[in-house]
Amino acid sequence: MELEKYKDAIYTCNRTRCGFCREECPVFKEKKLESYACRGKMLIARGMLEGIIPESEYEEIAEIVNTCSVCGSCAANCALDNDEILEALRADLVKKGYADRNHLIGINSIIDKENPFQLDREDKSDWAEDIEFNEQSPILFYAGCTDSLFYSERLAKAVKTLKKLGIEMNYLGSDEPCCGELMHTTGHWNKFKTQIEKTEKIFREAGVKTIVTHCPGCLRTFRDKYPKFYEKFDFEVLHVIQIIARKIESGEIQFKKPVNMKITYHDPCHLGRLAGIIDEPRIILNAIPGIELVEMDHIGYQSHCCGAGGGLIALDYDLVANITDKRLKEAEGTGADYLVTICPTCEFNFDKVIRNYNIKLLDLIDIIDMAID
């Protein structure tokens, strides 16, 4: 079992039982049952390792374990690698044949169409038809599936901004593979390994040294997950806003066009808490004249999840809607006119319901695009 690797950590949790993971868990807040919180799942993991829990209950355990947005709040409020342990638990359940059917649809779509949405692979590159890329550049612009298929205008803006900063990039067009994050998060690790090897080969053949992306999920998958499964994957991985923030700090960019907006910023879990990219969006927002940034109570490492991650949106939309509602109410409560974020999954989720709130949604790239000369 993958869980065996984490046995010490699981017993450490059992021994400690501090429960500090629990209060901020977005799913526990809704369910109010120990088994949905990380601490409870650690006891369940121990029960599986020791054979206390019969296999006849594994299907239900899989439901519980999948009812998690993989937001990393439990890990941030702990010293154990809770997110990894829960993913290992998912992997064990998948190996034993308890894969979720909805997850499988997405995973098979990745295998067939290089995106989890069952959409045509060729459509992924439509947004880039009129954009010139440099095939010789060792810097790869990795568009990602969600942005390519649903928020392509932001990709165009991101590329335009980076070009203005003198950064020439390559783009793989419809050859771009899916990063396979869904495979990893939902525990389909064998398929994930295959995806990594395929992707590494494509990137290597294209002469890639650095990967630049706008998608926090893809960023983390390439930066943090791939090397754990495949040491050869040693590319530098950067988020678009890391590059822009560095240019601001070095004085290479100065925004002069004012953008008069009162905004609040939502840290996407995968970009903020899990990738540690917390200061950069604020460096950018504070550098744009006219922007009034009003922070929510829960930001940075303690940011609250939108609810959509970890494949949860495909499993229990009512639960996700309740989590989303809490976050949007918090955003609304700041009195800001715009909720700004930079994650296609968060935006996809917020987009569905934001009309019911007194706040509008923007991507940080939209604001940068307005501010840049």
Binding site: C13, R17, G19, F20, R22, E34, G47, I52, I53, I61
Partner: protein
């Protein structure tokens, strides 16, 4: 032992009355309620037979009535951070998760009270109150997980108790469900004092779920203080530190928190210091005690109080701890919980061994004596000494609630047994020194039997009182009182440990 047919019958009845999504019989759900924070063998797990999650007082009452009809044990579960085994279902039965009762019903700013479900965590309650500039100053280190109900049921410690007291000082009113399912309002509504009737509320404070379920509470609250100062002062001995604190109080200073740590114990509270500096904090060799104090109020008051406190401490032999990061580290541990993300103190410090502490109440004049005995008793039982911390738990006076901590190797049955022998010997020592066995974790599962050493025949009277509230001994059996000692008990279930 409840048999499978009975479990099925009870589950069915509970589902009929409460609904499908309130009752869980799967092993994995039950596994999640099988332990608390108490040091015990790593392999131990006591599974309840059923988990029930009520969302209202009415549901809680219905559940207890059904359990009373079937004479099934009920074990309340909330934070799960107790060290006594109080929330562990050693006789199986129903583990009732109280965290569904977490509604804040009223914040009465005029009368400075809050009425809330007992299942709300203390941290969450304070987040809500802070929006109104208000504060519930009961502040256990476990506040992100432990609930208001636990504060009542276990009468636990709070960082700010030397200024504001603890549960007996905050709790004005409560709604409880007794062991027969009867709903009772106890206490004096929003009045702070009362001379009417007999006082039932104090019986529930520290009752550890043995009388009934605490479902709703009305608590006294305060305005949030505007500023705070926290300082550490080193002393050559524990007695010197005690005398210095005595002097601060005698001078009329308003002290918000006051903890005296022996030199060894300080290391446990400097987790974030070690993360930041990658070394142990540098404590001068002559320093055998550290007094940490905090003051709150308006800026002028806190500053002048701090200055005067430091002046008085110097006169009594103290030296201000200059390394402010050490003070910060202690404060993070005790109050703010602001640790480096992904490096929270509690699990990080428990990777090898388990923290365990005997929680004794000693008269102030016998603390040094108690400290010496602690070192001997811990050594005799083969336990690594972690150190002593003297908390102060009554308003405006030295009121020791002392944590005598050791490391327990929960992978080694001898170490676990050594821990329980240690707790027992320490408990006897506290009574011999004119004190009490427990000041914040209660009798729970482990002091049952030998707590008669403290209470004598009074324990029989306590059991009679319990029977008034819980005639069938279904409320947390085997905690505080031995099931064998409560006569005419129809519930007789073997202790069961799975794992």
């Amino acid at each position: 032992m409840i048999n499978n047919a009975q479990i099925e019958q009870i589950t069915r009845k509970l589902r009929e009355e409460l609904g499908e999504d309130r009752v869980f019989e799967q092993v994995f759900h039950r596994m999640a309620y099988s332990r608390d924070w108490s040091p015990r063998d790593a392999k131990e797990a006591y599974l309840p037979d059923i988990v029930v999650r009520p969302f209202s007082v009415d549901e809680a009452s219905k559940m207890v009535k059904i359990c009373n009809e079937f004479q099934v044990p009920i074990v309340p579960y909330a934070g799960g951070t107790g060290m006594s085994g109080a929330s562990v279902p050693i006789y199986g039965g129903i583990s009732v998760d109280m965290k569904g009762l977490d509604e804040v019903k009223e914040i009465d700013e005029k009368n400075m009270t809050v009425t809330c479900g007992a299942g709300i965590t203390i941290l969450r309650l304070n987040e809500i109150l802070a929006e109104y500039g208000l504060w519930f100053p009961h502040d256990p280190e476990s506040k992100p997980a432990s609930t208001v109900g636990s504060a009542v049921a276990c009468n636990n410690d709070g960082t700010f108790a030397i200024k504001y007291g603890r549960t007996p000082d905050f709790l004005l009113n409560a709604v409880v469900v007794t062991g027969t399912g009867q709903l009772l309002r106890i206490g004096h509504r929003k009045a702070l004092v009362s001379s009417s009737g007999l006082k039932l509320m104090p019986l529930f404070i520290g009752s550890e779920g043995t009388l009934g379920l605490v479902c709703e509470t009305t608590l006294r609250i305060y305005p949030l203080p505007k500023t705070r100062q926290v300082v550490g002062i080193l002393f050559k001995s524990i007695n010197e530190a005690i005398n210095a604190l005595q002097r601060l109080l005698q001078a009329g200073l308003s002290v918000e928190s006051a903890h005296i740590n022996c030199g060894r114990r300080l290391n446990f509270y400097t987790h974030s210091f070690r993360l930041k500096h990658n070394r142990e904090p540098d404590i001068p060799k002559w320093a055998n005690a550290v007094l940490f104090v905090s003051f709150n109020g308006d800026e002028y008051v806190t500053n002048s109080t701090k200055d005067y406190a430091l002046k008085l401490s110097k006169e009594t032999g103290g030296e201000t701890l200059k390394e402010q990061d050490m003070v910060e580290s202690w404060w993070n541990s005790k109050h703010t919980g602001s640790f480096i993300p992904f490096r929270q103190k509690w699990p990080d410090s428990q990777r090898e061994k388990k923290f365990g502490a005997a929680d004794l109440g000693l008269p102030v004049g016998r603390i040094e004596e108690g400290y010496k005995r602690y070192l001997e008793i811990a050594e005799k039982n083969g336990l690594e000494i972690l150190g002593m911390c003297v908390y102060n738990e009554k308003a405006s006076c030295i009121s020791p609630s002392i944590s005598f901590a050791v490391w327990v190797d929960d992978k080694d049955p001898e170490s676990v047994q050594g821990w329980w022998n240690y707790v027992k010997e320490m408990s006897y020592m506290a009574v011999d020194l004119e004190g009490t066995m427990s000041t914040y974790w209660g009798d729970g599962q482990f002091r049952v039997g030998y707590n008669r050493y403290e209470h004598g025949d009074s324990l029989d009277v306590m059991m009679q009182i319990k029977k008034i509230f819980d005639p069938n001994n279904i409320m947390n059996p085997g905690k505080k009182f031995s099931v064998d000692e409560i006569d005419k008990i129809t519930v007789r279930i073997e202790k069961k440990s799975e794992g």
